[in-house]
Amino acid sequence: MASLKRSVDSDPFAANISSKVYVRSTKSGKVQKIVREVYLRQDIPCSSKLCQSCLKATPRDAAGRPIPFVLSEAPAGTSVFTQGHYLVPDTNAFLSAMDLFEQSSAFYDVVVLQIVLEELRNRSLPLYNRLVGLTQSEDKRFYVFFNEFRLETHVAREAGESVNDRNDRAVRKAVAWYGEHLARTKAKKIPAVVMLSNDRDNLRKAKQEGIHACSLAEYVKQLKDGDRLLDMIPETQDRDVIKEKRPNELLYPEYFTMSKMMTGVKSGLLHQGTFNVSPYNYLEGSIRVPAFPKSLIVPGRENINRAVDGDLVVVEVLPRDQWKEPSTKVIEEDAITRNENPDAEGGGDDAVSEKERKALQEEVRRTHSKTTEGHAQPTARVVGVIKRNWRQYVGHIDQSSVSKSAQQGRKQDTVFVIPMDKKIPKIRLRTRQVAELLGKRILVTIDAWDRGSRHPVGHFIRSLGELETKAAETEALLLEYDVQYRPFPKTVLDCLPKEGHDWKVPESLDDLGWRDREDLRHLLICSIDPIGCQDIDDALHCRPLPNGNLEVGVHIADVSHFVKPNNAMDTEASIRGTTVYLVDKRIDMLPMLLGTDLCSLKPYVERYAFSVLWELTPDADIVSMRFTKSVIKSREAFSYEQAQLRVDDASQQDELTSSIRALMALSRKLKQKRMDAGALSLSSPEVKVQMESETSDPIDVKTKQHLDTMSLVEEFMLLANISVARKIYEAFPQTAILRRHGAPPKTNFDELANQLRVKRGFELSIESSRALADSLDTCVDPKEPFFNTLIRILATRCMMAAEYFCSGTQAYPEFRHYGLASEIYTHFTSPIRRYADLVAHRQLAAAIEYEAVGPGVRSRGRLEAVCKNINIRHRNAQMAGRASVAYYVGQALRGKTTEEDGFIMKILSNGFVVLVPRFGIDSLIRLRDLAEPEPEATFDAENYVLTMSGSKELRLELFQKVRVRVMDQKDETSGKRGAKMEFVKAY
């Protein structure tokens, strides 16, 4: 029998083939050994413009285009490498100092090795994506060199060599090869090839092998603005040194090992969840875990154990005697001085047997099921962090932490940065430029938090500008809420129509743009929007039909005509997700040209639209409906106020006005139907900042008025959204993009229901949205008209957030929109400012067979990713908007003092929270601010009464109306100007 064996010599390719063997473990814990072929080659270019031999053999893609060479022929030099240099960083350099590489002042001509890219990808996907972004930017000149595939630089792992050592060796070999390769170019000035690494061992070996190598700090010092950049090198490198210094001063308990945590979570003794810090007490966190219906409390610094808000952590339930009531005290970080002593605690935990711990879990469940307020709540301590949620934080340097000498010299100094977000602890920062950074808004990041230091250490990224300047505060806000605010890149602008503002609906009906479009230009269509609205998404019309019914049309800007799937503009819009409205600024989702002109349904001009047309009976029952792409010509763009005036003015009898009146009548009936079905009318304190038109400085704050025309527009938009949701769900049962609003868990209302029962004797029933709506209606205080609104505001805060989802991910009953009491719902009516609407447009267009079904419409995985992103963006946009209003309210109040009425909405043992509806702000008033010395107080948690005696005699209770003095105050800790309230009297 012939042998299947073959000798290596007979194979001409043998030298060029290697294999890569690695082991991976699957989700189920199986270990798999993977063997992959690797073809080694010699045509991978060095990509230096100096090198002629590589240039000749440039690889080409299928269309015959060569890849451009990246590395400059005359790279910048440093004080040591005056001849110019190419950088070759190792994985750790990228892991620890990606911000440095993104600097525009240095770090050009960088060779990213394949092995480094691979390692980075395995360690951190976000960093990998940032690096790939850098390699694609033309001006940074980052080149990915596939060292593993090049014959000369391929390194096989030796017996007994660790993967890390092998990778380090591969990096060194690639650096050495680059050096030799460039030397052969015979150029006048041959750039040095410099390896960047923070690994001492690697640096030492590189020196031995005669390769240029620097640590990050050494390298940065050689640069011109080295001092500034030096601050951006993370702290972690010195960690070993710190540890060696004071091994006895460990402040925090050690984390469990990953395997111990995993086993614990599996057996149900430990619990995993996202850690949240209480907004009122920075030393108390809570964590919601799947095992229990209510959150567990994590009290105290020791138990929080270095977890930062948003981290994914594992907790252990504390013994019963350490359970406590949820904090009724206000504790702010600034109030607690730095020399507080960490109370040594615990240690006995390990002595508790497994059985007892099991019993403890049961106890939690029992306690959770029966507690109302006032009982001890189960507590827990953090035993490990699965995933950090650290990001970049905006803050400012704590003036008090700066030594006098540091303010003048350029000595490196350690200071504290106080993040704007109160839930984030102070960050220790080492910098040489304290003097410049004082009084500025700065961006920092957390590097590490080890057991020996009370606060996390971080490094400086960049300065945003002076505190309290409009530009710095706005940028701070955008950064804090992760809003993409940079101008649109050129690739996006290239997707715009070439005609620019001169674009018009084609005149000839044979034009491609008119294909399958209905001509609705003859209809009397108008739009109703807030004053000054430029991006007009929607317009309406209504006309009587011969049979006595009415034809109503909702016309939505046809954004999907201009934004084609998967081009650069679409990708950018899907990342932005939504337009963000700040008081003085709008961060658009789509470029201005589209948003405010070509798509916007401006009056007197023809525009493309996507229309929903219904035939409604005079009782607002739907007889029929249809969807079509159309061309419309809006007759007028009204503001809500204008439209209201026109409707109310009986002398106006023209056709347009009467059609608005007809719409108004229909909308009332629609609203009534919705209310009957159990829709909630909720409330949130909304205010509007009035600006001076010239300087755009805020001058006054007004509460928003509600006009009938607003609910007119709202009703028809809801109707359109619901109709579209039905249609796209019917066409794409698995992939329709819908919006749901989950029923709130009963426990969310426990506290509010209890408060209402105790204080006012109202029963809040929450079986269904209908029952809740009805019971909210009964919560009326005849003497205080605002009371009902207050309850609605509080009820709103108990609700779940509505979310976008892809229909295949939920069962039909879960589609329900609780607040609107609709079985199915989506967003369709604002495609200019929301990406979800744009997707719905594409799906509807495919559903009515206007265009082919694109992959974005069909691919469920992609839609899920889109939904996830826009849910986050949507929430961030809302929070950014609110924060912007809060900033301007603070500015508007600057230097003014007014007395206003407010209501107590939360009572704590050493303070209370007052909501002032006039400004839509709520603020905490501490007892110690009421009188000097701080009055004695007894807090009756069962009845929500705070009785003070001593320096001030007063009895305060929940929902009480009080008079407060509102003034502005700069909060020294957060650097924000906000409203401060002083108690005047109780009614």
């Binding site: 992959r36 072929e37 991978i44 690889p59 992959p855």
Partner: protein, 272 residues
């Protein structure tokens, strides 16, 4: 873990270091089992298959496998019965495929149809050509490797055929959902690429552009299909070159060893 297929655009290199139009290393042998009528062994990268052909012979009383081509219906031509056995150790996760596995059945009938179209089965009425394929190791392009191995074994068995049936796979550098119209076509997908990217298997009749098999099980834009198909057909021609060389070398050695007598009309055959 190495990078995934999305890294292609960085330097026009695939996950295993190949360019877009390169085949993996193909190694083939024929007449590996002396006792069989025809046999072959073929490697395309890490995909390794073995093939044994028995026949044409009289059909036995009991037939273990069924071929799609002429199962019992016509006695005028030989039936091509294909059986594919996938070894449990051939892939990473040791999944066992049963005999009735639908994917297996489809492989079998595809191969059977392709061979029946090229083999001169009408010369052997009332007989069966048994093609037994064994998959020893899998790393993508399985169907293509099976077709190529079966062709070689049929050549070895001396069954008259129009031309080689040669196959290879083609793909595209970006996924369907990415909707990237300028994506490069790829030749000869490995397992990782097959998992992540759209791909098709194409088999042609020898040097002609006549397509004998075209299987596409992934979603891909029509616009990209033409490029993929062209690259695939081109790859088939390269595969034919390789297989042809293997056959000729083996034939040459056999003549030199005196195992066979040089046929008539082959005077010009180069034996050096």
């Amino acid at each position: 873990m190495p990078l995934d297929t999305s890294a292609y655009s960085l330097a026009l290199l695939r996950v295993d270091g190949r360019r877009w139009n390169e085949l993996r290393r193909i190694h083939a042998q024929i007449r590996t089992q002396a006792a069989a009528d025809g046999s072959s062994y073929l490697e395309m990268g890490h995909t390794k298959v073995m093939c044994v052909v028995t026949g044409p012979s009289e059909p036995g009383p009991r037939r273990g496998t069924t071929g799609g081509a002429a199962a019992g219906a016509s006695k005028a031509a030989a039936e091509v019965a294909v059986s594919v056995v996938v070894a449990g150790f051939s892939s990473v996760d040791r999944k066992k495929r049963g005999r009735g596995d639908k994917r297996n059945l489809e492989l079998q009938s595809t191969i059977s149809n392709a061979l029946a179209a090229s083999l001169h089965t009408h010369l052997f009425p009332h007989s069966v050509i048994q093609v037994s394929l064994h998959v020893l190791s899998q790393d993508g392009s399985l169907l293509a490797a099976l077709i190529n191995a079966a062709t070689l074994a049929c050549v070895d068995a001396g069954i008259p055929m129009t031309d080689y049936v040669v196959a290879c796979t083609a793909g595209s550098t970006s996924t369907y959902a990415a909707g990237d119209e300028s994506a490069d076509p790829l030749l000869d997908l490995n397992h990782q690429e097959e998992q992540e990217l759209p791909g098709l298997t194409v088999a042609t009749l020898g040097e002609t552009d006549r397509v004998a098999v075209l299987v596409c099980e992934s979603r891909v834009q029509v616009g990209r299909l033409e490029g993929m198909l062209a690259v695939g057909v081109d790859g088939c021609k390269q595969v034919r070159e390789i297989l042809d060389r293997v056959v000729r070398e083996k034939g040459k050695r056999m003549v030199l060893e005196g195992t066979v007598v040089k046929g008539e009309g082959l005077e010009d055959m180069d034996l050096d």
